[in-house]
């Protein structure tokens, strides 16, 4: 390897998705947090994500924000793969697709195991 850092286009795209995604996710988490404080009282505690989202309200908003934050690295890999494909960098396209496939496989397996 002989890179000193990402290419300008790749860096700009990834920085943009990271900044926008983090801001959006943390805004959702913050809004849920403020709403839960305003509502007062104890929350439902740790519960499966499906249950929390189904109930709605402040905790659902917070959980949706946490989920968005968790999915952000996947979005970064998708953007990286698209950029590497456009720049015909096959080696890094394969690396990003392999990492993405491994992550998605892990997520699907977890979701299936949780559902069963």
């Amino acid at each position: 390897m002989s890179e000193g850092g990402p290419s300008r286009r790749l860096g700009t795209r990834i920085a943009m998705i990271l900044r926008t995604g983090t801001l959006l996710a943390v805004a959702m988490v913050s809004a849920g947090f403020v709403l839960s404080l305003a509502a007062g009282g104890e929350g439902p505690g740790a519960r499966p994500i499906g249950d929390l989202l189904a109930v709605g309200g402040a905790d659902a908003l917070t959980t949706a924000g946490l989920l968005a934050l968790t999915m952000l690295p996947l979005a970064v890999l998708v953007v990286a793969a698209v950029t590497f494909a456009a720049e015909r960098e096959r080696r890094y396209l394969l690396s990003s697709l392999a990492t993405l496939a491994l992550l998605v496989a892990g997520l699907v397996a977890t979701a299936l195991l949780t559902a069963s």
């Binding site: 390897m1 002989s2 890179e3 000193g4 850092g5 990402p6 790749l10 860096g11 700009t12 990834i14 920085a15 990271l18 900044r19 995604g21 983090t22 943390v26 988490v29 913050s30 849920g32 947090f33 839960s36 404080l37 929350g43 505690g45 740790a46 519960r47 499966p48 994500i49 249950d51 929390l52 905790d59 917070t62 959980t63 924000g65 946490l66 989920l67 934050l69 968790t70 999915m71 952000l72 690295p73 996947l74 970064v76 890999l77 990286a80 890094y92 690396s95 990003s96 392999a98 990492t99 491994l102 992550l103 892990g106 997520l107 977890t110 979701a111 949780t114």
Partner: protein, 269 residues
């Protein structure tokens, strides 16, 4: 002081520290939540993983834009850490933890010793063909650095991810020295690239905890808010602090974790 404010401040400290050293902050969040706030260990680890992602994305947004994080290297090594984390997670329930904690302590002690020798010997390690740090204060216009030993680093990342999944420690504790010492990248690049990688490594684990319902949204929210603010602060500090200082602080943290692992291996923790 209200509990929520204390959680935000705890997240702020953990995020600053985690982003500054490329560790993610998990080393601090788990003990803070379990010992300080009485959270169950599974809830603390789940919250910690989400916070590792928040530290990673918050700091990486700044580091990638500034060209400090090597995205190509991060993605290449990230594939290995994801595989390692998955295998580590599976083996966590099978192999005796105390034996593995002892082995990991030995690895950390060696890493700490080697980095300390590097600090004493010279402020910048030289590898055949390596070139000056483009992000160093005197670096503008200097040639780009070169990284070396990719296959070995890939194998090392596999071990790093495996140890991370197995022992619940951040992969940064292994990947920073790996990128710095084995591959010959500058310390600042090693920290920034590790910060970028740990978010990818933590994503699958964090999602598992979310799906299983092992994260309390009311406890996680203030910590994540604090961590995100801290990550931006830590990335800014890491960009300004002298690389030798950064390495010195990292050695102290690695030595501390090594001692904790020895205690765990001895059954004293």
């Amino acid at each position: 002081m209200p509990t929520e404010l204390l959680l935000i401040l705890s997240g702020l400290v953990a995020g600053t520290f985690g982003a500054m050293l490329g560790l993610g902050g998990g080393l601090l969040i788990v003990p803070i939540l379990t010992l300080g706030f009485g959270a169950p260990i599974t809830t603390a680890v789940g919250t910690s993983l989400v916070c590792v992602i928040a530290t990673s994305t918050g700091a990486a947004a700044l580091n990638v834009r500034a060209g400090r994080a090597d995205v190509r290297l991060g993605i290449t090594l990230g594939a290995a850490t994801v595989v390692g984390a998955a295998s580590g997670g599976i083996l966590a329930g099978i192999l005796p933890e105390r034996t593995l904690a002892g082995l990991f302590a030995a690895l950390l002690a060696y890493t700490s010793y080697t980095m300390l020798r590097g600090l004493r010997g010279a402020s910048v390690e030289r590898h055949p063909g390596s070139e000056p740090d483009p992000t160093a204060p005197d670096g503008p216009g200097a040639p780009l650095y070169r990284t070396h030993r990719l296959p070995l680093a890939w194998a090392g990342s596999l071990v790093a991810g495996h140890a991370s999944g197995l022992l619940g420690v951040g992969g940064g504790i292994v990947s920073v020295p790996l990128i710095r010492m084995l591959m010959g990248a500058p310390m600042r690049v090693a920290v920034a690239t590790s910060n970028f990688m740990i978010g990818i490594t933590a994503a699958a684990g964090a999602a598992a905890y979310l799906f299983r319902g092992e994260i309390d949204p009311r406890q996680a929210a203030p910590v994540v808010i604090g961590v995100t603010m801290g990550a931006a602060l830590g990335a800014g500090i890491a960009a300004r602090i002298r690389p030798a200082w950064l390495s010195g602080i990292f050695v102290v943290v690695v030595a501390y974790v090594a001692v904790r692992m020895v205690l765990r291996a001895a059954g004293l923790e």
